[in-house]
Amino acid sequence: MDPIFAWIESSALSEWIRGECLCAFPTIITIHTICMGLLAGGSSAIDLRILGFAPGIPLERTLGFLPVLWVAFAVNAVTGTILLIAYPTKQLTNPVFYVKVALIAFAVWLFYRVGKEIALSPEVEQKSISGKAKVLAFASLASWIALIIAGRLLQYTHKWEMLGVPSLI
């Protein structure tokens, strides 16, 4: 096994997260899932508005949701890191994990770009939504879907045996 992975895995923090307490791994992954739903779902809802659904929503006012969604992202960056500390070998030896990380970067970059596009054209109600905004919204929607697929597949593609750690799930 990789010495760095082994070192992380044998740390007190890593062992605690993998431990028996319901307050450890189960709670952390639950918070990770709640914030995933809020961020991916909320960002997708804004994308759907840009693509023409619920046209009565003043687009620039959706900016009011962004702080909530950015907090959800911050929480997931932290909980995701903690989950990684619990099972570094399991995650870092799985190619799907790197696909997921790349998709996080892409989806969050698009989320930022969509927000910027809305902020830069506050009078969008008087004009039509730009083609660029629609492309960004469509790409954002697609990347959230791809990200959730990759995240879920992580659970089915790793090899527990190589760790000797009993599966929690």
Binding site: L22, P26, I29, T30, T33, I34, M36, G37, L38, A40, G41, G42, S43, S44, A45, L48, R49, F53, A54, P55, G56, I57, P58, E60, R61, T62, L63, G64, F65, V68, W144, I145, I148, I149, G151, R152, L153, Q155, Y156, L168, I169
Partner: protein, 168 residues
């Protein structure tokens, strides 16, 4: 432990056989759909609830309510995939306190939906001017909705940690 009659029936259905015969791809596929569905539900109904509770105040309630059909679509996806999970491993769910709590919270969420659309609360909300402040009832219903869907998610996520010690 003897297998109950209802469970024997579930295990005799074609759906149960389909799940257990093709579990390596049916289960992950349904899990993916279940997560997409929950994101759709939480992302649309959740944003509506947050708006009622005072976030993004400039959005007219009537307008953001138009996102609700997407949440219903997510809910339907999750009911369908939920049926697949239950048909595949009925004992894992039925004899599981996390699942029972999840069903209870879904019931409360359902009653809350009735309290919104089945009374005049929704009709009154639709009559509000664009910058109108929602009634206290509307806010209570939105708060209940948001907390119940999160509670349903929590119980669902914790299901596997409360599995019964036996598998038929």
């Amino acid at each position: 432990m003897e297998i109950a009659a209802w469970e024997l029936w579930v295990r005799s259905t074609w759906l149960h056989k389909l799940v257990v015969q093709h579990e390596p791809w049916v289960w992950p596929a349904c899990e993916i759909i279940h997560y997409l569905g929950l994101s759709l539900l939480l992302g649309t109904v959740g944003l509506f609830d947050l708006r009622v509770l005072g976030v993004a105040k400039g959005i007219p309630l009537r307008a953001i309510h138009r996102l609700i059909p997407w949440g219903i679509a997510g809910y339907i996806l999750n009911i369908l995939t939920g049926i697949v999970f239950f048909a595949g491993h009925p004992d894992q769910y039925f004899y599981n306190n996390a699942f029972r709590l999840k069903a209870l919270f879904m019931g409360v969420a359902g009653a809350n939906i009735l309290a919104f659309y089945g009374t005049n609360v929704f009709a009154e909300m639709k009559k509000l001017p664009d910058n109108g402040i929602p009634s206290l009832q509307t806010k209570i219903i939105a708060g209940t909705s948001l907390s119940m869907w999160i509670a349903v998610l929590v119980c669902g996520r914790l299901l596997t940690f409360f599995r019964p010690p036996f598998f038929h």
